[in-house]
Assembly symmetry: C2
Homo-oligomer: 452 residues x 2
C-alpha cells in the first residue's frame, strides 16, 4: 500500500520545497494529497509554517481537511484563518462534523462561531445539535441532491452537475413532493441507464428505505450493512426529508459501537480512551468495581459459612481459585458468543432454546474433560481420591452452570430490552464465583466424613 | 424506519397475490424490493412456491439475491434454477461472494459448478480463492470500470454507461497503462465537473492510494475509514490492477474483526457462532481452558505454600476470592482500553510512557478507594484492625499491579508484533490471580504474629 512511508515522503517533500522557498513545488505536492494527508501535513508543520499552508488551500479542501483534524487542532486552524475565511469554511463543512467541533467548545466560543456563520447554515447545524447523541439526526448531513417528482432524467442530471461540488454523495437522488416529503429514490446507476427524456416518476423506486431522525445509530448501521447502501435518507415524524447518513460516518459508528461493546463486556466504563485524565478514568470505573467488591465479599461470607469444613481440610482452599476462575472463564466465553450474535440476528423462542441446549452440551463436554483432568491431578498431588472426586465433580457442575449463566443472562436481558452487553464479563465472572463456591463447599461438606 | 413490519407486510402481500393466482401482483411486489428483501421472501416461501419466484427474477436480480442467502440456501436455490440459469447467474455474481459459496461446497460439487461456468469467470474466481483468507485479494471484486490513459472525459462517460449494469461501484474510474498498471484514478465527481473534451490524463489523480493483494483486510478497512473512500483499488506485486475492494464488504470486515477481538479478549475461540455444533465449539474452546486450568492450579500451589498461615487464620480465606476477582477486573478494564486504542493509533515511546503513567495513577486512585473501604468492612466484620489493614493494603497493591499488567502486557505484545488481543481477559485475569495471592499471603505471613 501507499502507506506511512509515502505519508512521510510527502511531508519531507513539502518541507524541502518550503525550505527552498519553492511555493509552486509545495502546491504541486498539495494537489496530489487527500484531505486526511493534508491534515497530517498541517499538524506536522511548525506553527509559523502553518498559515502558509492554509493560504494555499481553496475553501473546499480546507473544509475537507478541517474534518480530519481533532477539535483542538481545528480550533487552532480556525484562529489562523481569521474571521472571514473561518466563516466561509464553516459554511462549507458537513454539518455533522461541524456539530462535533462546536460541541467541543465553551458556550461563549460556540456562540461567537455560530454568530459569524451564514444564518441558514447556522440554523441547520444548531438543529442538528439538538438531536440526542447517537441518533440518525445527529450524524446526518444536509449535503445531498433532491429533486421534485416532475423532473425528467435530463433535468435530474443537470441538478447533479450543479450540486456535484457540495454534495457528500452522488450515488442517489432523493425525490420529494411539494410538502418536502420523501416519496422516491433514484440511483445514479438507474439514471445512467435511462434515456434523457424518461420521467423520474417512471424510473424511481417508491419503496424508499429510510430512517427517522431519532433512530439509534446502531440500527442505521445494521440497515446500511443489510442493503449495502452508500447513503440512507433520514426523515422526520411527518416523512419530511431531513438529511442523509453516509457510509463513511457509518463505518465510524460500527467501530465506535464495537468499542463500546468491548468496554461494557470488560466492565470498563464508556468514554475512556488514551486521552482521558486519570481522575476521570478512575471515577468512571469505580462504580462497577465497588459493586463487584461487594459481590466478591459475598463469596467471602459463603466461605465463612463453611469455615468448619475448611478448618478441617485446608487443602480445599488450594483448588478454590482454579474452580472460581474456570467457571468465570467459561461464562465469559459464552457471553461473547451471545452478545455479538445478538447484533446480527433477532432470536425467536425456538432459536433461543437451540442455543441454550448447544451451550449446555458445550458446558457438559468441557466440564467432563476438565473434571477428569483435575480429578487425576488432585489425586496425584494430594494423594486422596475422594478429594480428587470432590474437586472434579464440583468443576463439572460449575462449568455447566457457568456456561449456562453466560448464555441465559444476556438472552434474558435482551428479552427485557436491556442491552445484553451490560451483563459484562466481570459481572458474570463474579456471579459465577459465588455460585461455584457454593457448589464446591456444598459437595465437600457433604462428603466431609470421607475426606477426613 | 421501514423495518420488520414492512418486511412482513410485503411477504404477506406476495403470498396473498400468489394464493389468488395473481402473478402480475407478485411481480409488482418484487419490483419494489431490494435484493436482501427478496432473499428474506425466498426463504419464507414453501419449497414448492420457490421455483415460481426464481422464474420471475432477471439474471441480475437473481445474482444480487443469491449474495444475500446463506451458502445452504444458495445451494438449494441453484438446484432449483437448473444448470443453464445457474451458470448465467454465477457468471454474473461478484466473484468474492461466489468464492465464499464455492468454499462452502465439497470438492466434487465445487468442480462441477466451476466446470459449468464461463471459462474466464471460472478462472477469475479460482484465482481469488487462491489468495490467503482475510486479505484484500480474497475480498476484491473484478466488477469495476477501468479506462486507458488516452481517453477523453466523453469516452470515459461512455464506458461508465456501458458498464453501469455490471460494475459494483460507479464512484471511481481507474486509469491503467498498456501493461495494465494502475497509474491514476478519476472520481465520478471530477468527471461531472469536467468538460466533455477534457483529457483523462489532465484531470486524474496520479497519487493513487491502493493496497496489494496480500494486504490484511483489517488494514484495508483502516485505509478506507481514513480516506472515506467508497472503493479501493488492489494491485499485484508489479502494480498491475487486479480488482477493487468496495465499502460494503469493508463494513462486514469491520464487524467481523471487532467480533474476533471480542472473542479473543474473552478467551473464546475464533469461529464460534450460533450455528457451530456443540462438539466443535467445545474443542475450539478447550485449549485455552486447559491452559487456564493449569495456571489456576499454580494459584493453588501458592496457597498450599502458605498452608500454615491459612491454618492459623482461616478468615484469610474469606477475602481471597474478592482480592483475586478485583485484581482480575481492573486488569480487564485496562486491557480493553489499550487493545481498542491500539486499533486507531500508532504509539510512540512518549505516548506509551504517558499511558502507563495514567493507568498507574488510575490504579492508585482505585486502589486507595477500594482499600480503605475494604479495611473498614473487614474490621467491622472480623473485629481485627490488623486483618483489615492486611486485606486493605493487599488490595491497594494488587489493584495497582493488576492495572499495570492489563496495560503493559498488551503494549508489550504489540511491540513484539503479536496481536495484543491474544492477551485475553481470562489470561490477564488468571495471571492477576496468581500475583494477587502471592501479595496477599506474603503480607499476611509477614504480619502473622500481629494477626494471631
Amino acid at each position: 500500500m501507499q502507506d506511512q512511508q509515502t505519508n512521510e515522503s510527502f511531508i519531507v517533500q513539502y518541507k524541502n520545497h518550503l525550505k527552498a522557498g519553492d511555493l509552486t513545488g509545495c502546491l504541486a505536492v498539495l494537489q496530489e494529497l487527500q484531505p486526511f494527508d493534508i491534515a497530517v501535513l498541517f499538524v506536522s508543520l511548525e506553527p509559523k509554517q502553518q498559515p502558509q499552508l492554509l493560504r494555499m488551500l481553496d475553501t473546499r479542501l480546507l473544509a475537507d481537511m478541517m474534518q480530519e483534524l481533532t477539535p483542538t487542532a481545528q480550533y487552532d486552524a480556525f484562529r489562523l484563518l481569521g474571521r472571514n475565511r473561518t466563516t466561509e469554511v464553516m459554511d462549507r463543512m458537513d454539518n455533522d462534523d461541524l456539530a462535533l467541533f462546536l460541541d467541543s467548545l465553551t458556550e461563549e466560543d460556540r456562540n461567537r462561531f455560530l454568530a459569524d456563520m451564514d444564518a441558514e447554515e447556522s440554523e441547520n447545524v444548531q438543529r442538528l445539535m439538538n438531536y440526542p447523541p447517537e441518533t440518525a439526526g445527529r450524524i446526518m448531513t444536509n449535503r445531498y441532491v433532491w429533486i421534485p417528482l416532475y423532473y425528467s432524467v435530463k433535468e435530474a442530471v443537470g441538478k447533479i452537475r450543479e450540486f456535484a461540488e457540495i454534495s457528500e454523495t452522488l450515488s442517489y437522488l432523493y425525490v420529494i413532493d411539494e410538502a418536502k416529503k420523501l416519496i422516491g429514490v433514484v440511483s445514479y446507476r438507474d439514471l445512467i441507464l435511462a434515456d434523457a427524456t424518461d420521467q423520474i416518476a417512471d424510473i424511481m423506486y417508491t419503496r424508499v428505505i429510510s430512517v427517522t431522525v431519532d433512530t439509534d445509530q446502531e440500527e442505521v448501521a445494521t440497515i446500511m450493512r443489510r442493503y449495502d447502501f452508500l447513503a440512507l435518507p433520514v426523515v422526520d415524524e411527518s416523512q419530511v426529508l431531513s438529511g442523509i447518513v453516509t457510509v463513511d460516518d457509518i463505518m465510524d459508528v460500527i467501530v465506535h459501537e464495537a468499542n463500546e461493546d468491548i468496554h461494557k463486556l470488560s466492565g470498563g466504563a464508556k468514554g475512556i480512551d488514551f486521552d482521558t485524565k486519570p481522575g476521570t478514568a478512575a471515577i468512571r470505573r469505580l462504580p462497577w468495581l465497588v459493586l463487584l467488591l461487594f459481590i466478591g465479599l459475598v463469596s467471602g461470607t459463603i466461605i465463612s459459612r463453611f469455615e468448619d469444613t475448611l478448618n478441617q481440610i485446608v487443602a480445599l482452599a488450594f483448588f478454590m481459585p482454579m474452580i472460581a476462575g474456570m467457571t468465570g472463564n467459561t461464562g465469559t466465553q459464552s457471553l461473547a458468543v451471545v452478545v455479538r450474535g445478538l447484533i446480527s440476528r433477532e432470536m425467536d423462542r425456538q432459536e433461543i432454546f437451540r442455543l441454550v441446549k448447544r451451550e449446555f452440551t458445550v458446558g457438559l463436554l468441557i466440564g467432563l474433560t476438565c473434571g477428569v483432568l483435575v480429578t487425576i491431578i488432585a489425586y496425584v498431588w494430594q494423594g486422596s481420591l475422594t478429594l480428587g472426586l470432590v474437586v472434579g465433580v464440583s468443576l463439572l457442575l460449575t462449568l455447566i452452570l457457568g456456561t449456562l449463566a453466560g448464555t441465559v443472562i444476556p438472552l434474558l436481558l435482551n428479552k427485557l430490552k436491556i442491552d445484553p452487553a451490560i451483563a459484562s464479563g466481570p459481572l458474570i465472572t463474579t456471579l459465577n464465583d459465588v455460585l461455584s463456591l457454593l457448589i464446591y463447599f456444598g459437595i465437600a461438606t457433604a462428603f466431609l466424613s470421607y475426606l477426613l
